[in-house]
Assembly symmetry: C2
Homo-oligomer: 326 residues x 2
């Protein structure tokens, strides 16, 4: 079932079939009708490989995640897919987590797309630069700007400062930050903002490295709370850590929101259903994905050649876990 079959059936040449189907050049009305009828009868669908070879483009773009578990990435993907497909592009996903050689996997993916969205914590910058230098349009999301690539991020600094100040207003004194600033620029930003916010009120928080999952949150929090002069506030780098920390706190009989304040980051679904509901920072995840798709498309279609760097605002969402509110 190829374009030749259609041409034969309609009694025309393949060039005419192509023109009739894509409207790339004028075709007599009668001929077009004949061709389209043949297409319909035969149920012809152009081979994608053929088209993409001839056009030298893929009509697809890729998105590279660290992993797909957790609500954060799913939302980004959702926004991305929605917009990308509205723009007529298929979406290839790649999760680097647990992969022996992420860089190769991404290079491989690069060979089948017209552009790539790369999220933080997936592949090193030099791979992004290499691909970008090769002429592949790239948008990085939630990671620092890279030469030659566009970037989209959620700015957490303001919200982090606000969070620090809010906690100070609650009267906390010993604040522990759970997360690894040196491993992620995003976390570094949150840590910095929180420290600044608290600093205004003379509070100097400590930082304890922690992985981005619930179990780590529980473990690290348990360690912090076991000491004599335990913290009265745990600021966690994401919601999953915070939810884990709540478990640890309740384990030793602390009432979260009274005896101890615990905050997260991301506003995942579980955050508002937890009791006490989790004070956190809402990121516009869907928008992040949608914007990435849009920015990438501009670059692919050549509508824009100057780099674009977007920063989206985040919102502090105050709930009960940071202290009871009237």
């Amino acid at each position: 079932m190829t374009i030749y079959d259609v041409a034969q059936r309609a009694g025309v040449g393949i060039a005419t079939v192509s023109r009739a189907m894509r409207g790339s050049a004028p075709v007599a009305e009668a001929t077009r009708a004949r061709v389209l009828a043949a297409v319909e009868e035969l149920g012809f669908r152009p081979s994608h490989a053929g088209t993409s070879l001839a056009e030298r483009k893929h009509a697809a773009n890729g998105i590279v995640f660290p992993d797909l578990s957790g609500p954060y990435y799913a939302e980004v993907l959702l926004g991305y897919e929605e917009t990308a497909s509205r723009l007529g592009r298929s979406v290839l996903v790649l999760a680097t987590h647990g992969r022996p050689d992420p860089a190769t996997a991404v290079r491989d993916l690069a060979g089948r797309v017209d552009g790539l969205v790369v999220l933080g914590r997936t592949i090193p910058d030099h791979v992004v630069e290499e691909l970008s230098a090769f002429g592949l349009p790239i948008v990085v999301v939630a990671r620092p700007e890279v030469d030659g690539a566009d970037s989209i991020r959620a700015d957490g600094l303001d919200a982090a400062r606000a969070l620090g100040e809010h906690l100070a207003a609650h009267g906390v004194r010993r604040v522990a930050f759970l997360g690894s600033p040196e491993e992620s620029p995003d976390v570094a930003e949150r840590w910095r903002g929180v420290r600044e916010g608290l600093g205004k009120h003379g509070i100097e928080p400590t930082v304890t490295p922690c992985h981005f999952d619930e179990a780590s949150g529980t473990r690290v929090a348990a360690g912090l709370l076991a000491v004599r002069e335990r913290p009265d506030a745990l600021v966690c780098a994401n919601d999953e850590i915070a939810l884990g920390a709540i478990v640890a706190a309740e384990e030793i009989g602390l009432r979260v929101g009274r005896d101890i304040a615990i905050t997260g980051w991301d506003d995942v679904m579980a955050a508002r259903h937890a009791r006490p509901a989790l004070t956190t920072v809402r990121q516009p995840m869907r928008t992040l994905g949608a914007l990435a798709a849009e920015v990438l498309d501009q670059r692919i279609t050549g509508n824009r050649t100057t780099p674009r760097h977007e920063s989206l605002a985040t919102d502090l969402v105050v709930r009960d876990s940071c202290g009871l509110h009237p």
Copy 2:
């Protein structure tokens, strides 16, 4: 940067380059070394379109979701992507939700993959059959078997019966089921199992249609609870409805787990963090995705021609929202 450049650089023909790179035919050791060196120096990566045109396959498969929001699908995708890429296949995702013409989108996707996983509530059976009849390997997930396609599902009947009996043991009398059995075979199965389980104890539940989201859960539950002889148990078709229902119940001062039992389905992350924690049914979502990838691969590689239909067990997870336990 094509195979011709490499051939020229290595002083060989393009056929030799191809053979050296893919090992499809013997190449003298010295020649191979020369070719690989040229590949390395030039940073050559074979064009995917060219390869896939020549080989007449894509080394990619697709997965079709209703939408990607919510934790359920993200987990399925995770398992799928992991396994598919281990099997050397790229993954194309498509979300049909909110799309004017899902069938066309899926047909389109079908043209760029070697096989397709189709989840429930995306496209009608006849489209699946049509694609399958065209020779495209298809695996349906969480939807009834379709002629010519393999299928993977989670069997909810046993767990639903167990849930019904468990609720009866709690002494509930008026049970309302929130969900639309006629719209989804999965929901129909849950409804049937719950009714059977309760029926053994002489309880006849009612059913109220409800969409699969939190807001609908709140709205429908609010309606049900507003009447005089209100239900003392709400069995929800998924966790999001249940979490919404909890909100509605608390809104009017009911203590969930005491005054009223509420249960969900899926065991999403928020389920265990809700207070009271949600009694629900755990589905092996990741395994579902992984198994789908495997079954699809068998069919694509031709390792199996007989249809395969798998049903995975689900587990009742009893927590506090269905009644306080000792």
